[in-house]
């Protein structure tokens, strides 16, 4: 498995989908990311990332219900696939291993 095909933004979006499941769709994700990072995030960017992730097989989607504020339009709900989940945990494992190797003193200096 190549891990290089998961960009940083994509990784965050994938994580957000996993966190917001089963109500993960672009508006929710964009709002969530804005709240978490403090930067403005457009639904367009999120949507594009979601599409790419779906193409790569990390996500699946189906159309959900329509609401009034959407003008009666349906939303597309995303869920993480098993493959997506594994990629996420792989990435996390790599990070964890690296984190664990950081000398505690240095960590103290940062904080």
């Amino acid at each position: 498995m190549r891990r290089s095909d998961l960009g940083e933004f994509e990784e965050v979006v994938l994580l957000a989908v996993a966190a917001l499941s089963p109500k993960a769709y672009s508006v929710m994700i964009a709002e969530e990311l804005e709240r978490e990072t403090g930067n403005s995030v457009s639904t367009g960017a999120v949507h594009a990332a979601l599409q790419r992730l779906e193409q790569k097989g990390y996500l699946t989607s189906q159309l959900g219900e329509a609401t009034a504020e959407r003008g009666g339009r349906r939303k597309r709900l995303f869920t993480v696939t098993a493959l997506g989940g594994r990629v996420l945990s792989d990435v996390r494992a790599v990070r964890n291993r690296l984190w664990d190797r950081i000398i505690p003193n240095i960590r103290l200096e940062w904080s």
Binding site: Y25, S26, V27, A30, E31, S42, T43, G44, A45, H47, A48, Q51, R52, L63, A66, T67, E69, R70, G71, R73, R74, K75, R76
Partner: protein, 869 residues
């Protein structure tokens, strides 16, 4: 509260359809959130930014169709097959459509070719844009007359004093018939005497010899056809010939025949001016060479000069050189460019008033209208019929046709019909061209190898096809299949038929106008033909005499001719009775207003002239051998008496070149020139010089063929050098109506076609409407409607339309024809019955056309029409 509409519209435009729903939903949902958090103004701004964030290939790229896409040719083949099937299924409609359109196209093509020919007149010459004829305006009793002929010293004057503007100035003698002979072989040919530079000016294409040919004094240039007639395949160069049996010349060149659409196309030989000058006594010995206006001058300008400024410069070139007596006419010299010779040849009061150009416009407009009528038909029929195909559209859509496919299909069908029509039209043109050339007196050919011709044809076909096909293509293909297949009637609305009705009104307006025009043109010709012409053209024959042989033995010729028993009277005359070549200004009489400048046509005639042509004396007597003094006597026509203001003309003395002439008689006005104009004051005198024609009055009891044979033997005996030739005066006179007759014939031809096309369209529409209302008619019949009431029901709509057309056409036709008639001094009046008759005619034809369909529909058995559901 809702997000910016424009942004939404922009997004809907660029975003792929399959993503539109979720994307728009997301945007709107977020907008609502933003309004709560940030307020409406900022939310709107953010909304735009968000929309722009979607401008990305992933959102723009359309999803590939889930249906298999067949190759283009497969579908094209299918469209073609369907198109052929629809054509074959409705043979009647297809025939009406194709024939109607092809006739219209053929007319437009013919007129287009004719226009091309007219507009390219004289363009054979390379220096077309730089050549002009030198002409003059003369003032005659306050009226400015324009002369094509000038005195010959003017050419030298122009060369010497205004030479910087001219590349060539070429003097010539007006074209005329001459006898060319080689040994015993003789032909009468039309030719001109020119100064040598003419060959360069007209850019003659030399077949043999060089363009310098005319520089030798005794030379002649022949047209290729004449050279062939004389010498066959032998080399004509340096062969000897004679002109008019007296001037020996040597062939120094042969040039390609000038094409029919050039001014000089009738000229078949050119000889040097010096030859003419040296051999013509009256020109050499004329006391004042500036007096006779008998020569033509052509000029080619230098590159830098333009016609207007040079015209202004040379205006007084003649005035500065002439005697005070001639100067009274205030001659103003000007240049008439070659590009205007043919189409803008008429001058009125010194101003160019057009000429043939008005026929170019007239026929251009007629051609355009006939074509328009045909296109209207085509559109009317195809739109009317396409409504019947709504079901087909429904089915096609239900089984998966995409809209673009339907659009292609309808366009292809209409294009197919148009191209069939084009092919048929080309066929008609090829078929009709000889007849058309005959009527129009032209040599028009189809420009098969001209790319402009082809691109015009194809471009026009494409345009018609697309315009006519656009209604079914765009309107019908937009139907929703559910509605159509459920059987909902097409709700066309009451305005849907308005354009169609308007088109029918346009068609009939044009047709009625053309009918009225045709009737008026023929009435005008009739009117002028019925005018009393003052003499009897029946059995009157003119034999031209070029050499003096006949004149020298005129008494013997006369005796022998009378002896044959086929000739009643013989006279010699300077001109044939249908033309006048001489006119003179040197007349004076008692009480003449000294400011009056005159120009009388003068006819020199022999004894018996009056008896031969059969004029009627109003007063006095004819020339007679009993009075020796008649050699200085004149006969005036009534117009001359009126012009001179003579109370008791007979016995008066008038002076001509200061010689006294006694008026011995007055004749009723004889129409010599145009039968549409007033008769000019004319003077007849007894001439002893060789005339150019012999007039013969045939015995009405002998057959013309037999008489001419006997006459020929007499002429051959006395004038062996000249080929025997003759013309009948009544034919010559009829030729004066040629132009108007031609217009009349062509206009009637187009009027008939316009009516035909309009009726064809009406026929199609009527049958379509009858078919559409089959059920209604069935129900009405069951409820007891009579055939007459049904017939009225179906016809009245069309009748109303035609009546509206007649009301529009009447003032339009009146306006144009009144203007046309004003051109003629002697013209008929437009009476109301012409309009009434044309309108009634149009109504009658309409009724006939529509009634056929109406009665057919009304007679149908209602059981059949009502059972079908």
């Amino acid at each position: 509260m809702s997000p910016p509409r424009l942004a939404d519209r922009f997004l809907t435009w660029f975003c792929a359809p399959h993503l539109r729903e979720e994307v728009l939903g997301d945007l709107h949902e977020r907008y609502v959130l933003r309004v709560q958090q940030l307020g409406e103004a900022r939310a709107r701004r953010r909304y735009w930014r968000d929309v722009l964030a979607y401008v990305h290939p992933e959102f723009i790229r359309r999803k590939p169709s889930q249906f298999p896409s067949p190759t283009t040719t497969t579908m094209l083949r299918n469209y073609l097959k369907i198109a052929f099937r629809t054509l074959a299924k409705h043979k009647g409609y297809s025939a009406i459509n194709i024939v109607g359109l092809s006739v219209g196209m053929a007319v437009a093509l013919l007129i287009g070719l004719w226009l091309w020919d007219e507009l390219s007149f004289d363009q054979y010459h390379t220096h077309y844009n730089r050549i002009a004829q030198v002409k003059q305006h003369l003032v005659n009793n306050g009226e400015v007359q324009t002369w094509n002929t000038t005195p010959y010293p003017l050419a030298e004057e122009l060369r010497q004093h205004y030479g910087s503007d001219f590349k060539h100035v070429v003097l010539g003698r007006e074209e005329g018939d001459h006898i060319l002979s080689v040994g015993n072989e003789k032909f009468t040919q039309r030719g001109m005497y020119f100064e040598p530079q003419i060959t360069d000016m007209l850019s003659l294409k030399m077949v043999k010899g060089s363009r310098n040919g005319l520089k030798e004094p005794g030379s002649i240039l022949l047209a290729e056809s004449v050279a062939k007639a004389f010498f066959g395949d032998a080399d004509p160069i340096n062969k000897l010939m004679k002109i008019d049996n007296r001037m020996a010349v040597k062939v120094t060149g042969v040039y390609e025949d000038l094409p029919r659409n050039t001014t000089f196309h009738e000229i078949t030989f050119m000889a040097p001016w010096s030859l003419y000058y040296n051999n013509t006594e009256w020109v050499r010995n004329t006391p004042d060479p500036w007096r006779p206006n008998a020569f033509v001058i052509f000029a080619q300008l230098n590159e830098s000069a333009d016609f207007e400024t040079v015209s202004a410069k040379i205006k007084d070139a003649k005035l500065n050189r002439i005697s005070s007596e001639l100067a009274r006419k205030k001659p103003a010299i000007f240049l008439h460019p070659m590009s205007q010779w043919h189409l803008y040849s008429e001058f009125k009061n010194g101003v160019n008033v057009g000429g043939k150009i008005q026929y170019v416009w007239l026929f251009g407009i007629i051609g355009g209208f006939v074509l328009l009528l045909a296109c209207i038909n085509f559109m009317n029929l195809s739109t009317a019929r396409s409504e019947k195909r709504a079901k087909e559209v429904g089915i096609r859509k239900a089984v998966g046709s995409v809209r673009t496919q339907l659009i292609y299909q309808f366009f292809l069908e209409s294009l197919l019909v148009v191209f069939f029509s084009l092919i048929l039209a080309l066929f008609w043109v090829q078929l009709l061209l000889p007849a058309f050339n005959h009527v129009a007196d032209k040599e028009v050919r189809v420009l098969w190898s001209n790319p402009i011709f082809w691109s015009a044809c194809l471009g026009f076909s494409l345009l018609t096809g697309l315009v006519a096909g656009s209604y079914p293509a765009f309107y019908l293909s937009s139907f929703q299949p559910v509605k159509i297949l459920k059987g909902a009637r097409l709700q066309a609305g009451r305005w849907a038929t308005v354009p169609r009705k308007m088109l029918v009104v346009v068609q009939f307006t044009v047709s009625v106008t053309l009918i009225v025009g045709t009737i008026i043109v023929f009435r005008q010709i009739q009117f002028a033909q019925n005018r009393p012409i003052g003499y009897d053209t029946n059995g009157l024959v003119v034999v031209p005499t070029i050499s003096a042989d006949v004149h020298n033995h005129v008494d013997a010729v006369k005796r022998e001719l009378l002896q044959t028993g086929t000739v009643l009277n013989v006279a010699e005359a300077a001109t044939p009775p249908t033309e006048v070549w001489n006119s003179s200004s040197a007349f004076d009489w008692k009480d003449k207003d000294p400011t009056l400048s005159v120009d009388f046509p003068v006819v020199g005639a022999s004894y018996d002239y009056g008896k031969t042509i059969g004029w009627k004396l109003a007063e006095g007597r004819d020339f007679s051998r009993d009075f020796l003094t008649d050699s200085s006597a004149v006969i005036l026509n009534e117009a001359a008496v009126k012009f001179m203001g003579l109370r008791n003309p007979v016995g008066e003395t008038i002076r001509w070149y200061d010689q006294p002439y006694k008026v011995i008689g007055v004749v009723n006005d004889v129409v010599i020139n145009s039968p549409y104009e007033q008769v000019k004051p004319t003077i007849f005198h007894l001439s002893t010089e060789p005339g150019s024609t012999i007039l013969l009055k045939l015995n009405p009891h002998s057959s013309a063929g037999d008489a001419l044979e006997r006459i020929e033997t007499v002429f051959k005996k006395f004038n062996p050098s000249q080929p025997f030739d003759y013309t009948f005066v009544d034919e010559e006179f009829a030729r004066k109506f040629g132009n108007e007759q031609r217009i009349g014939t062509l206009a009637s031809f187009f009027a008939v076609l316009a009516i035909f096309i309009s009726c064809l369209g009406l026929f199609g529409l009527a049958s379509f409407i009858a078919e559409q209302r089959t059920k209604e008619i069935g129900v009405r019949k069951v409820l007891g409607a009579s055939v007459t009431s049904l017939w009225r029901l179906l016809s009245v709509d069309f009748i109303v339309l035609v009546i509206i057309s007649c009301v529009i056409a009447t003032p339009v036709a009146y306006y144009f024809l009144e203007e046309w008639l004003q051109k003629f001094t002697y013209h008929t009046s437009i009476s109301w019955w012409v309009f009434a008759a044309s309108s009634l005619g149009a109504l009658a034809i309409t009724l006939l056309t529509v009634s056929f369909q109406a009665i057919k529909a009304a007679l149908m058995n209602p059981v059949k029409s009502l059972r079908s559901e």
